[in-house]
Symmetry: C2
Subunit: 160 residues, 2 copies
């Protein structure tokens, strides 16, 4: 069906959802955590619908078909972080925003201070900086985050 889009890594073919769900289940088992329908619903919703999201969006999007309490969502987040399914991205208006990691390339963010939209980009130098500085400082690095803030193209025009 969608086998002819193998190289397209931005829009996920269906098969990847199955694989990624399986990876998450595997992770849970490997840690002795249980595979519950709530955890599956949360993970599936993120993998299908949410590149960037906060707890409330996730909660609301689950509610119609497979309601899960916020307590369970909050309790699932550390597990999903640990499994590498998602990562914290930034805090805005006093609550955390997350992004899906499975099936996406590592990237950095541009944040518009005016419209609060997030734009993504990749910059290969960053991994090199991470490596070099870590070596230099005797650090064993596990990841990095780079963020640029300012005004996006649209908001610059608007403000003139």
């Amino acid at each position: 069906m969608s086998e002819d889009r193998v190289a397209d890594s931005l829009f996920e073919p269906e098969g990847d959802l199955v694989e990624e769900m399986e990876a998450f289940r595997c992770f849970l088992k490997s840690k002795g955590y249980r595979v519950t329908k709530e955890r599956e619903a949360i993970a599936e919703s993120i993998l299908k619908n949410h590149d960037h999201f906060d707890v409330d969006e996730l909660f609301l999007s689950l509610r119609p078909k497979t309601p899960v309490s916020k307590a369970s969502i909050y309790r699932a987040i550390p597990l999903m972080k640990e499994s590498g399914l998602l990562a914290e991205v930034y805090l805005e208006n006093g609550h955390m925003h997350y992004e899906r990691v499975y099936g996406r390339e590592h990237h950095s963010h541009l944040r518009c201070l005016n419209c609060h939209r997030i734009f993504e980009f990749s910059a290969p130098e960053l991994a090199q900086v991470e490596k070099r500085i870590s070596r230099q400082e005797g650090f064993k690095s596990e990841g990095h985050k780079f963020e640029i803030w300012g005004l996006c193209a649209a908001c610059q025009t608007e403000k003139r």
Copy 2:
């Protein structure tokens, strides 16, 4: 008095405190905000004692000599951010950590996930990445943040 240390930008000669306080007062006036003794005490405490801090540390360090309520501290923070005196650095254990910006070079952070210490470094490439990506995306950038996390040298040894 300390005129012979002009080039030393890491440890601040006394004169800089006066200048930096003056810059902050100027900023307040320029915006129509008032120069109050509370705002001066907060700014002076940060400039003198706090490269990295959170609200509680600031509150406690002010209390003995020039007590200022937390409400006033929280109300002063956006002003100090706006003036460029301080910047948000990271969220830890549910509360924000700040750093002094006046009189210090821009730098990035290494965070140890084990001992939670922060190490600083400079990497000139980062400003170039900021510039290049902004140009590429039509973004008008106003700043960037780069952070590496992992295990510091001491914590790696300890864990073996």
